[in-house]
Symmetry: C2
Amino acid sequence: MKTERLRKLRAAGWKVGTTRDFLNLSDEEAMLVELKLTLADALKLTRKKRGMSQIELAQRMGSSQSRVAKIEAGDASVSFDLIIRAFLAAGATRQELQRAFSIKEKVAA
Amino acid sequence: MKTERLRKLRAAGWKVGTTRDFLNLSDEEAMLVELKLTLADALKLTRKKRGMSQIELAQRMGSSQSRVAKIEAGDASVSFDLIIRAFLAAGATRQELQRAFSIKEKVAA
DNA sequence: TGAGTATATGTCGTATTTGACATATACTGC
DNA sequence: GCAGTATATGTCAAATACGACATATACTCA
């Protein structure tokens, strides 16, 4: 795992220690976190592709700019439900959502 | 949409009226519900394929049999996070999870 | 540089989701 | 029919996620 991603995890409030500690999380937990970050990145991309601001997206989904920011930052307080809602509200199709789920880490640790 | 699925939605506590009403839900909301039910079905299949009882799965994921039952029933009180957690705890790979996301309705309404 | 816009971060009261428990129903072999 | 096992349903206190707000920081363009 790259240092940058680790930094991002910590910044987002995840209880992550060293790389070693992270690897010691149960596979499920690790995969869950990875999935969320992957979706968060995909959401950000989708939103920008549509030339949409966080405020616009927030309005579309009945939320607030700050929460959208947290979603995209992979904040620990954000659920899958909210990410997926945001994704769909950003205009993504089910197929795009599915594709986002399949994107793996760009770089192996 | 088939009547059976509609019945299932109501039974699960979703605020669903007639087929017409359902179709009037925002596309996002409808897709969200559909996705949850799809995942719920896939989870049940995965669990049974591994010869696992709801109690076993519950223990693996630190939850209870009743909640696993609700997950598989597509209960309205269950989040994506919990479904995905269950899915992974049932031993599904990320690829299987992704595949589950891609499964569409078997029958068009 | 500064104004204008976009995004990030921290906090909080409220709403939703949770595991746990009790208990009901379904299924299976006898 | 009756056990024994699996699954379903209802409820609730505690945990978590939520939108909202304030405010900080970043980015653009003149």
